[in-house]
Symmetry: C2
Subunit: 255 residues, 2 copies
């Protein structure tokens, strides 16, 4: 990740025992990774922590000091095992308060559905003091932003809704350009020496090599650079190395 | 994760820029989570780091000090962007050496296929000094174990093959028992107060509540305990709370 220093940086902390027990496969890290790439923000680290305050606090404090933005997912619902808000408040050493506007949003949401605002639902209006609300278009209960930390829901549909709500608040970085080629049937190890040479000659480009292990084997090589011409030049060199080995390079997904 | 202290613990560090760019959705963390749960080993943290030595070293050193086992995935292939072996060696402050047995395995693998052992392929015999090999039944080049760290391939099929190869070396923890019920149509927030009461009465049980956000909405509640009778008792209480609300609880996946 040679490019990250000239770009805005981010990390994500997904929270929930179910992500670590094998029950649920996290979907938010991968979605966020692609979403941030489109916005020229580099996701530099991702972590998954259990529903345990000390571990959430420790991870959050490392990440928020190190990156421009930190996104958390999960643990902001109404149940006893939703402890993220308390953990975030502890990390910032601020109290948890009932946010009047969040309370109004929750009352309006359940009021419109003729459902009672139970104590558990009321809990979803608790925020770290000083936090700003993140709108939740899907299910009423908002997320929160505090400093550079965006605290969002774990349910993927709600997580994505909240990302849309914060999109305008994020500062974009320097857009990276990328080019990619795939050679079906070419083992990565066969072209590895050539890739190393091409990489050594091309400063300002990061060459990534990704073996394909599906029904069709092969390798995809991606060149990423701030300067589009450099990425193109590097991938042209890769393409010609592939041809010399008797393989036919085709364009590939450039993410 | 109230149970982890009486169990063997583990962490996983997945390595690769492609996991953070949105290009590749990591599959190894989720697979490992379920695999360890079956073996009564608690996966307590998961992290994804880019192909950047300083970040790999720092994360690895935190995790290997904190947990019984650490698994890494990715970055042990033949290309210039495969830097995991060097990073692991740096974390342990040992040199990288060419492992004679690894070299013999690689020579045998390519020899059997009439392919040359290129410099890049030879690189896959490099290991941190003192490491023990992990057999790779899929593609020849081995992983390595050093102290409590298992360094394995990122390609999911190879990762799983290597897990099988280390299975016998892992010490199992105390087996957890779990029971689970799902109520279709019941919003999590409606039963949240009752769950909190049941949890408060049942020490030794961890109740997890997981909203379902598919075509059918609802909630799944899982009770986990070392004592099977406690888990059953807790889930019976949840079942009866669901019935009182007019919902029909059904058995659910207990992971």
């Amino acid at each position: 990740m040679t490019d990250q220093r000239s770009r805005k940086t981010a990390a994500v902390l997904a929270i929930g025992d179910e992500l670590l027990s094998g029950r649920t496969r996290d979907a938010n890290i991968h979605f966020l990774a692609g979403w941030l790439t489109e916005r020229a923000i580099a996701l530099v680290e991702a972590r998954i922590a259990p529903d345990e305050q000390a571990l959430i606090v420790e991870n959050l404090n490392v990440l928020r000091a190190r990156y421009d933005y930190v996104f958390t997912s999960g643990g902001i619902g109404p149940t006893h095992d939703d402890i993220t808000v308390d953990a975030i408040a502890a990390a910032f050493a601020v109290p948890v308060v009932e946010h009047p506007k969040a309370m109004a949003m929750i009352e309006a949401w359940y009021g419109a559905r003729d459902e009672a605002v139970t104590p558990a639902r009321r809990r979803m209006a608790r925020t770290p003091e000083g936090a700003v609300l993140i709108e939740n278009p899907v299910s009423g209960a908002p997320g929160v932003r505090i400093a550079n930390v965006f605290v969002m829901a774990g349910v993927p549909r709600i997580f994505r809704g909240m990302l849309n709500a914060v999109d305008a608040a994020l500062e974009r970085g320097v857009q990276m350009h990328s080019c990619a080629v795939t050679a079906a049937g070419l083992p990565e190890s066969q072209i590895a020496d050539e890739l190393r040479e091409i990489q050594a000659k091309q400063k300002g480009v990061a060459l990534g090599s990704y073996p394909i292990d599906g029904d069709i084997k092969g390798v995809t090589v991606i060149a990423r650079a701030e300067d589009e011409a450099l990425a193109t030049k590097a991938i042209d060199a890769v393409r010609s190395a592939m041809r010399k080995m008797g393989f036919d390079p085709i364009d590939a997904d450039r993410k």
